[in-house]
Assembly symmetry: C2
Homo-oligomer: 415 residues x 2
């Protein structure tokens, strides 16, 4: 295919700006319920670890219906922002105390059902979480994440792939949660499974400096260096965050044409620091973006932050990416990182040309205008594989979605 | 007054969240036309200086009607985001070649009229711009900014104060553009005028490192240190940007209870770097925010970035400000920096409780939920001094505003 034709573009059609659907390749949908509830110093949420405790408190009490309701609400909000494909990094697998559900896939199914009911694509990224950490015992919430061995993870992956095989809007990918939560031999096993089955393989890597220290203590090196040395980076590897990298790690991700999924809204919220975005792009890594903790609702803001925060770090303009690069990251690359290679062509977002955020733009610079300027209010309609998801800025089951969400938050004593 | 009563708050009234109006204390409304048009490396906009040349190209060609149309469009967009008071840092004063208009206030009047026609408050910050720089000759656009002496500036300030004396929604403040554009003796004169007349006194300071070097070459020190040594900081001084400060400068701004107007959307766009926000707050400075170049349209994003970017810099959560602090910066402090002390109590923004960005929030944490989470789509109605400006998310003269804006951009050959 002609590379020109293969590049996502924004075109003016019938009085609206039409663009491909946006992908968010890294989501923990249930964390949407925490937005606005972890911003006080007085709570334990004042540090990353404190925030994680709040998240555990929520995860501990989630029923399958709550996970469904919160995810459906979160995905509706994403769809209203132009998102048509989500990568759900799913790690809450079991019932309280770690007891598997009768249907082992009960919770995975809840999030897949939420995405289907909203009408967007979902990649269920089945995440292995085998321990709390190196020589650490598990908190009660973590028992819901943990499998006794990697065999259960592979079994679930097989089950998931078979259960959703007929639905082109559902993909399955493999993940190791992190170097902290999965010992190296099992990371090897998971990566090999992903390669053998042609699946993307996702991992949280190098998000916080503390994580680097823990990895050094166990492995003598930092996460990306460890994976690189093991030969586990590839063109289907998705490094989530990758905030704190040395030059050799940047080069390794680039040489392998790996994906780097940057989640600036969450990373800013959690105080992760500033990634070396321009270095990654120059080295050949493929950028995509993720809503992660759902700290923000604006998919345009999420992707432009990739460039804007690199400008803050380097104190220069045009640090890494122009409009077309951001459009590529937000659509084609995000789809590929979710195993929906090429399917970005089937999904579309129509923007109101009169919305002040993008009114009177220069057609030659439409991708700059939209990626650097648009607000979700400009999103008028969204369709996935020809089926309308959002019309006139709203989802037709908005009220029902909202009521279910409120009921779950009430049960969880969050309102 | 009881300090509790004097603190801005967000309350649930008749099914909506009601908050005071938001202030943006630093705006160059005409720059709104550049949004989305300066993001390519191939253009000269690839550096701060390149961006400034693009801005000059626009400023050079602006007719009074264009300034009115672009400002009215920009203010409408701000009002749709909940902004009820704008500080317009106005420095395009004269006709082409620097010839004063028959009415010297023609252009000032255009922006004031724009704000009045939209229905929001405006502080016309009459900005002295006396030279291109130390031993530098003026570019053609700069001729429109430059007055032959400070006397013309003081004359205009007198004229403006008299012309708008009867309108409680129009305030006047004084400004020196920067240490670059105003020699020290004239900065002293302007500051004295502001003190004598009880006006806020605004200045761009320490935005870019190059500016620090220029100031050192002329004055042997950096801008805030210079002003501090001259005794020109005060509780009515508004330091715009103040990105690159040393500890003594932070302390000086704090000791004087000066305002610091942080403009993160623009600062991120221009690659200015990361301000020391927590240090300023701890020292006692009063933070407010500004839309500056109108690179973004989201007043909530503008203010939360004050905290979020400080988290990126310090790599920690809860770096400087919680929800109530951000609300204070976005309302009360911004109003005070614009000379509208106390008037924030008269203006209100009503938010749709069902907008996904703020649905099902914890009433005890409403300011966190709104300041960290809200999107302009949630803004349902806005009123200024009891008069409705926005209803159901729209301005009733939206179409006319948009048509005038488009006509101006066509004249300017920008579409």
């Amino acid at each position: 295919m002609n590379p020109e034709q293969d590049a996502p573009a924004i075109r003016y059609v019938d009085g609206r700006w039409v663009m491909p659907g946006l992908a968010t390749a890294h989501s923990h949908a249930f964390q949407r319920a925490l937005r606005g509830r972890t911003q006080r110093r007085a709570t334990r949420a004042g540090t990353f670890r404190g925030w994680r405790e709040e998240m555990y408190r929520l995860a501990e009490r989630l029923r399958p219906d709550d996970l469904y309701a919160i995810s459906r609400f979160a995905y509706t909000e994403l769809a209203m922002s132009g998102v048509t494909a989500v990568g759900e990094f799913h790690y809450v697998h079991h019932g309280p105390g770690g007891r598997p559900y009768a249907d082992r896939l009960e919770l995975a199914d809840a999030v897949v059902r939420a995405a289907r009911d909203v009408g967007i694509r979902i990649c269920l990224i089945r995440t292995a979480y085998l321990r709390a950490g190196y020589e650490q015992s598990a908190a009660p919430a973590q028992e819901r994440f943990i499998d006794p061995s990697v065999d259960e993870v592979l079994m679930d992956l097989d089950l998931l792939r078979s259960r959703y095989a007929d639905d082109p809007n559902v993909a399955v990918a493999a993940a190791a949660h992190s170097v902290r939560a999965v010992p190296l031999p099992q990371i090897r096993t998971l990566a090999a499974y992903a390669v053998a089955n042609g699946l993307p393989f996702h991992m949280h890597v190098c998000e916080q400096r503390g994580e680097l220290e823990e990895c050094k203590a166990e492995h003598g090196t930092t996460p990306v260096a460890l994976l690189s040395g093991e030969g586990l980076l590839s063109s289907r590897f998705v490094a989530v965050h990758a905030t704190h990298l040395d030059e050799a790690e940047v080069a390794a991700l680039g040489d392998n044409r790996s994906f780097v999924c940057i989640c600036r809204t969450t990373e800013r919220d959690l105080g992760d620091g500033l990634p070396t975005t321009s270095g990654l792009l120059c080295a050949g890594a493929r950028l995509c973006v993720g809503v992660d903790s759902h700290a923000g609702e604006n998919a345009f803001e999420e992707v432009r932050a990739v460039e804007l925060d690199e400008r803050s770090r380097l104190e220069m303009r045009h640090a890494a990416a122009e409009g077309p690069d951001l459009l590529d990251a937000a659509t084609k690359q995000g789809y590929a990182a979710c195993g929906f290679d090429g399917q970005w062509r089937e999904d579309r977002v129509c923007l109101d040309r009169d919305d002040p955020s993008i009114a009177a733009i220069d057609p030659e610079l439409a991708s700059d205008a939209v990626l650097f300027g648009a607000t979700p209010r400009a999103v008028k309609s969204v369709s996935v594989a020809g089926k309308q998801v959002i019309a006139e800025g709203r989802h037709d089951r908005h009220e029902e979605t909202l009521n279910q969400y409120r009921a779950s938050l009430q049960y969880l004593e969050m309102i």
